[in-house]
Symmetry: D2
Subunit: 347 residues, 4 copies
């Protein structure tokens, strides 16, 4: 069967990437695209790279317009999904690319976000170790899915294997991320202007204030650490897309190099979209642009007493839209990799 | 008086930056520029931005040609300075921008570098806390100066105040650096091609193998930590110049926020070229391009139990050539800031 | 049926892009990848973004290894294809991404290239106006195809409609192109280093010396201009991929705005991969990255007396590998757009 | 004496660059900085690279606050300078970096700009050929100076020598410019976001609509062409600063190569800040970043019948702020190069 789909937030970066991937998906028909300030305009005016969708006109984002589809994607700013959720009760599958349905803890929500708390939905990172299994199992047949925060899933995938295998100290995690500005959306802010970003590395949310921190903590708790502590610093760098997360943690006492490496090998053995590179190899973001692949390199630094995990992800694909569609494929019983590429576009 | 100067390695990036700064220095005359493969060619062919030096021709780097100047700058690949040192015995001031004379430990040299060990020279980071004083004092009247490694001095300046004040645990330092490719020099390597760097973040020397690690350890030992441990990961990002180092360390037990911040404030109070930004502010590399300024922002993350220090430096100026000339000014008794700008070129 | 394929030059940028596209092509099996200096190494070591081809090992480029496939792609430096051509006599389809078989004029070859002249093959730009038809017709059933030069096909597609309709003066064409460095290949040249390209616009081959000029002239002659004259200047800019060609020509006397625009509309009406944008719209290279699409915008400047045509192309896709595979599809009777995307990867 | 200076528009890019240059000028004291929306805030909050001016607070831009200085710089959006001009009657020297006082023709003003026409001031491009002399002579003792448009002065300097020497056909000029986004100012527009600019070349104002066209025409008329015609296309590329203008024109009948080259050699012989490169050499924008230098390369293409002139300029220095201060130096009788560097900051 062909599923009818509506995508809200269609003029933004996340919405655009959902559309780019869906446009090549043989099992869906993109019937409706919606947004607010751009409603009434051709989609291609705001997504000029989506030539195959040149026939679509952006409609207003309203519950009525979104209703009546088999699948609805919400790619809205944080705090806006909730208002549509209730009226989408009859929609078989809703996938939220925003943060509204990610956190299980209302306390954490209140601390890092504003506005009302919403019930958590099934988290859309299939490969994430959860207890002795994987998050994939929870996604089978899911009807409400929360796509991950891009930085959060990158760091969670980097550290969860070590946590679940008990080979690292989850109280001493440090992550520093080089990130492209598309993760911040199409917002008109001075600090996102090209003149500000070109030729410069720009830290933000320094000191434990970034909203993806509770999401990482939640994932690591699910992986088996009761109280993980993470120092998390994102740095905007001059590349449109991509996250390169360098995460490290103290090696747990008595753990051998072989056991360390085995934790990650076991976690991702057989995974198409989360791949551990051979020893001594580390990924670049260039290797995953446009792809749904997270590439991971691992080094053991006995001088520092830490394991260092470098992960490369396309924030708009594996970090957001690809995760959403991979989760959709699983939920619907389709081949998990449908419309998702393992290969990046490089150079 | 006017000092006569020779600069070796004149066709490379470090040599070029030394020349750019010296060209505006009223107390020196650039008499000789030397290199190897480019000898015989006009300097401006290899440094087309140095229009005021269009009259200079590159000569062969030999002891004879370098001898007879008041000041000699060596901007050569690691391991090459030593061969000239002996024959420059009569030169009043020699400044090495390479690594040959930086390390005091032959063991560390042998572990991270190759070739013969050379005696350590006075280290060219004036603001670095050393015991209860500053490295500046050692530079007064110095005749042999080792300019720092760019990443090393950036991290050392970031962490030394916390070490010397005893407010951090120096065994748990983690530094991740976004760095521009000019730090790697004008080497013809595939990984340094524009097509490889553009749009990509590229980690290298992951897992404790980078040569600047012993140099940082040495500086932190001088600052008062007997056995510092540092996890150090550089990431090449698409900006020609600049280092943004995000360094963090566990807060020592019982240290208050005020005491933490005071450690850095006291260390750099009154310094023109190493400035601690007000609380809540963090630097971008754009703010220091072309300047001899290191800008530092500090955050205290009690959730993670760590102090986070973000430092921005132009690798070619404060990281190399500016440090060399600032040290030269001190050694010669000239005003320390002569020919050095506090202001960056932005955007 | 499934066609067996060999790709030479597999460790370069053009070869890599051919492989990226073929990896998603349902009718081919990539059986053999070859190169010279990288032979014996895993393909993924040199093309780390091609995860789905991680099983392939690079073999030596020899006539023997290339022989015995249904299709052979040659992605070699100019002048190297010829030596394999003879021994590939039994290969049903050979596609050369190099220049060796593009030019019909031995005089032009001798003037712009070196080495022996080779016979011209069918030119792989299906949409190009040729006389009263299109180049597509010549590609049906072709067995030897010369993929175009990326800059050449971009400019030829920009100007040929005006030439064939007789609405411009082909003696006054001026083209200036912003191009990414991947078009220059993975060559180790100082001017292609990231430090040289980042933050800079770099002209090259100024004054009529670029090798794509005779290829453009040849295409415009085929479109109906006996003696076209073109001023052609490429400028390297800091983007890995992409060509933005701004071409203009004097408007022929007495031609109306409507007739001008109609020339391009008629030429590309119904074409999937060469699209004329609506009046007042102009393309960005971001819109076509990863896509096989050439987007064209047209403006009429009566003050200057010129029509201005701006074309955006991904040099590695529509400019090279996509053109090769689109031509292959046509030659084999497959759907022309198989494995080729109309949509770009943006931002 | 020390001149007291006020700079309006101090939080923008042009204002920031004027301040960067003035901060190193020994003959001026920056007494007042003004702006609108940022009034009341520290200057360094909006210009974090100007560390030496950290003591300044932005004041409101009003006639009263600007009055009473020896020199006032206006770096305001087009159409806003006029309101301050009248009340600055007592100010000895006013320099407008905006367009309000550039054009001599009210007709051209009305066609390309909006709002009331203002009287033309002395044009701030000293090296520009005017009749048989240079614009420099008009600047001596000037009290009201209009700094040039950055694209306009770059193209005017490129073509004026050929016009004044009568060696080109001024009716067939074509200029295509690769420009950095800082020329568009710190405006919050989607098309200026980093995500839109990174990795992309973006044409704008295609087809003869750019406001710098009448300014170029005016300069070429002053150089001796009664009715110059120019096709002008700017292309935004991913570099914060810089203009690379590729301009060409038909060679006038019977003009020899030697005469062609001599036109530019004679025009700029002895000029420090506009330099013609030796034959076969062409400039990159990297060579002039931070410098007040315009570098020009010239090629003669007899096949195309055109002379091609490539000019590199830092839009914020020689294109705006440097031109303003160079003009100020001339007007005040100071050394013309005071506080202006001939050397760029590269790489």
């Amino acid at each position: 069967m062909t599923y009818s789909v509506a995508v809200s937030g269609a003029s933004g970066y996340a919405g655009g990437e959902i559309l780019r991937l869906l446009a090549a998906h043989p099992d869906v028909e993109i019937r409706t695209v919606t947004a607010h300030s751009t409603a009434g305009q051709p989609l291609v005016q705001h997504q000029p790279h989506l030539r195959s969708l040149a026939h679509l006109t952006i409609q207003e984002t309203t519950p009525e317009i979104l209703a009546g589809h088999d699948i609805v994607f919400l790619a809205l700013p944080h705090g806006q999904s909730g208002q549509y959720t209730d009226s989408l009760g009859g929609t078989p599958l809703v996938i939220d690319a925003g943060a509204d349905h990610r956190l299980v803890s209302e306390t954490e929500w209140d601390r890092f976000y504003s506005g009302p708390f919403h019930e958590p939905w099934t988290y859309g990172v299939p490969e994430l170790p959860v207890g002795t299994g994987k998050q994939r199992e929870n996604l089978i047949g899911a009807t409400r899915i929360a796509a991950p925060g891009c930085n959060a899933s990158t760091v969670s995938l980097s550290m969860a294997p070590g946590v679940s295998a008990g080979v690292i100290d989850p109280a001493g995690i440090v992550s520093v991320l080089a990130v492209g500005p598309s993760g911040a959306g199409k917002s008109l802010k001075t600090k996102l202007l090209a003149s500000e970003i070109l030729g410069s590395a720009n830290p933000y949310a320094v000191g434990g204030t970034h909203r993806h921190i509770p999401e990482i903590r939640q994932a690591l708790i699910a992986a088996g650490a009761p109280d993980p502590r993470i120092s998390f610093t994102p740095v905007l760098v001059p590349m449109a897309r991509g996250i390169l997360a360098t995460s490290s943690a103290p090696i747990a006492p008595g753990v051998s190099d072989a056991d360390l490496r085995a934790a990650w090998e076991d976690a991702y053995n057989g995974e198409a979209f989360v791949q551990l590179l051979p020893e001594g190899q580390f990924p670049r973001t260039a290797d995953v642009i446009g792809a749904n692949t997270a590439l991971i390199g691992l080094a053991i630094d006995r001088d520092a007493g830490r394991v260092v995990v470098v992960a490369a992800v396309d924030n708009l694909v594996k970090g957001t839209a690809g995760a959403a569609i991979q989760s959709m494929n699983i939920a619907l019983g389709l081949p998990e990799d449908r419309a998702l590429s393992m290969n990046g576009v490089a150079p």
